[in-house]
């Protein structure tokens, strides 16, 4: 199936070049240099462990330990779940089927993605591995951004928690969801305009995510599958590798990871040396065995994604825990002299605290007697789309420039929206 009009295929250039005979499997060369990110990761890990060695059993280290581990423990199950969903998508869902679900009109597709959280609710930690896989599967990045930003806000669980935290106040609940949706759609549209195709994607972050494949000595059933409706590739999971990717029939999209190996994603791509067909039929020639093999592969992908994304989660969680352990919340409130400053401070607090979008309403609601409602709303809207751990996790697949644009837009839009509501809708309350 051809790409949707206006949609840019992540691997379109390579796809167009693929023919059954023209492509030789690209076997990556062994790296002789130490990857910069790997050394940085080790160095960061050592730095993070230093307080354990030098601080002894101080109260602040205790606070740091409990807060850091609690953020990690709360987020990891969702990262695992998101990774598992991503792995299943990778193995069982074809690019064509996935893109066919989207409206052909780009704006409608972005808006639909912004509302996807209502039927597919995931928190901000789980959404990142899912989004990486969706983009890897050919969902346009701008559409994925709409889901990435709106998903953790525009979903029924967050609506329910906000409603409960604010004692049944529908105003703040709808304001939160509405603003989250609007900002997500706006940013996604801007990204669509400014960063067409894979320009926003970090080399090595998405393109070299392991495609569904297996090793050269795998003992799977390698019998080519009969043709399958809707799948862009000629065969499924169980190929010996290396082998050439099979050209998509009828101008279908190819599916070859780019051979880029720099950047943060380098480690994971190595485990799946040969790119080829991403999908497995649930009903196939060899039935159950093929499906169970595919599930094993999905778990392998999930494990890779989990290990990859968790690195960034841990760095961000540590930064957040350090902020919570060393900065008193009263300091934020003491600085809140005008509505503008108060909104900015609550935005800063949202970035620093790194709360789950399903729990942050309770913290925001605790400021009802202290801060304007607009400042609480700023906290509620910005937190799920931008915090320290999310910045680190976004960097796992988004270019710095694109991320900077996203961050600036998030902050400016949340601030402007909150200040507008404060002055014109809520009468300065």
């Amino acid at each position: 199936m051809a790409n949707l009009p206006g949609f840019v295929n992540v691997n379109s250039e390579l796809s167009e070049a693929i023919t059954p005979t023209a492509v030789t499997p690209a076997v990556p060369k062994a790296r002789s240099k130490l990857p910069g990110w790997s050394l940085s990761a080790i160095a960061v890990a050592v730095l993070m462990a230093i307080p354990l060695l030098v601080a002894g059993r101080t109260p602040t280290l205790h606070t740091l330990s409990v807060t850091f581990v609690s953020i990690v423990l709360e987020a990891l199950p969702f990262v695992m779940l998101g990774s598992l969903i991503g792995g299943l998508i990778e193995v069982f869902v074809s690019r064509e089927r996935l893109t066919a679900l989207l409206p052909r009109n780009r704006t409608l597709a972005i808006m639909a993605a912004g509302l996807l959280g209502l039927v597919f609710p995931v928190c901000e930690c789980a959404i990142i591995p899912v989004t990486r896989r969706l983009v890897r599967k050919g969902i346009p990045f701008s559409v994925a951004v709409a889901y990435l930003i709106a998903g953790p806000i525009v979903n029924p669980l967050v609506a329910a928690s906000t409603y409960v935290a604010y004692a049944g106040d529908w105003l703040i609940t709808f304001a939160r969801l509405g603003c989250g949706f609007g900002i997500a759609v706006f940013i996604a549209t801007v990204i669509d305009e400014w960063f067409a195709g894979q320009k926003a994607l970090r080399p090595g972050g998405i393109e070299t995510l392991p495609a569904h494949t297996c090793g050269p000595s795998c003992d799977h059933d390698h019998t080519p599958l009969p043709s399958r409706e809707g799948l862009g590739k000629g065969d499924a999971t169980d190929h010996p590798t290396p082998h050439p990717p099979v050209a998509p029939p009828q101008g279908g999209t190819g599916f070859t990871p780019l051979p880029l190996r720099e950047g943060l994603g380098e480690g994971d791509a190595t485990d799946h040396p040969t790119p080829h067909s991403p999908v497995v039929p649930l009903r196939g020639a060899t039935g159950g065995r093929r499906t169970s093999t595919a599930i094993t592969h999905a778990l392998e992908h999930a494990a890779d994604d989990f290990l990859h994304v968790s690195q960034f989660l841990i760095i961000g969680a540590f930064a957040a825990a350090a902020s919570q352990s060393f900065i008193a919340r009263q300091a934020f409130v003491d600085l809140a002299e005008t509505p503008s400053i108060t909104i900015l401070l609550m935005m800063a607090m949202a970035v620093v605290l790194n709360l789950c979008s399903e729990a942050d309403a309770f913290v925001a609601a605790s400021f009802r007697n202290t801060l304007p409602l607009a400042a609480q709303l700023a906290f509620l809207v910005l937190g799920p789309m931008l915090d320290l751990k999310l910045i680190a996790m976004y960097l796992s697949f988004v270019r710095k420039r694109a991320l900077l644009v996203m961050i600036v837009l998030m902050c400016v839009l949340v601030f402007a929206m909150s200040l507008t509501l404060h002055h014109f809708a809520w009468g300065g309350v």
Partner: protein, 244 residues
Amino acid sequence: MNRPGYDIANFLRILILGFWVIAFAWLLSANRYQTFIQPKLWPLLAGALVLLILFLLAVYFRFGRPASHDAGLWSRAGQFSLLLVPLLYMQVGVTQGSLGSDAFEKRSVTGQTITPGGKGIRPREQVEYSHDKTNEVDLLRMLEDMERLEGLPVSVVGRVYNDDTLPAERYVVYRFVITCCAADALPVGALVEPGTLEKFADDEWIRATGIMRTTMVDGEPSPLVMATKVEKIDPPANPYLSPF
């Protein structure tokens, strides 16, 4: 050809996942996870443990297969290092227990409203209080029903915080309310004025029994327990309070 680097890299990955499987099992046994996470969320950790085991098995059964290129030994070493760090801090957290007075200081905000007049974060059923016998209440309930408890005999459990800004005969008994995890913990507290000169160190768990009064702190009403008895107790099974 099978490369040694590939095997070591895969081994590191198995090791990381193995460590985390052990860590989750360790946290779930003896409810150690309650230092970090709301007790009602234990199924989340149990589910994560199952997923981790599945990930581990999937990776393990791929172990030893030759790869067509090296598998990023240094990349795995970086992952291994980073994913090891929370495990080190986990041990510290479990050893020292739930959030203490340091977090109480850092997270307390003047005028912060934990309970919105009987509604909001604690939509619980109304409790009938007795005038004749001691009412066992938690700190959240005490804040929630401050007016109704005025003048009644109460007993409350919490940790001690000796606040230098308070009169010498008073101290704070506090706990944290958590919705999901300790990162979203909000402090709640009440003043205690014991009839004796007995002092308690910061973070000691006590049960204060006495008559509930209301006093003003920084312009806000705050519960005050005129204690007739204060006893040191063991930490409760769940150190945190829940809004649900």
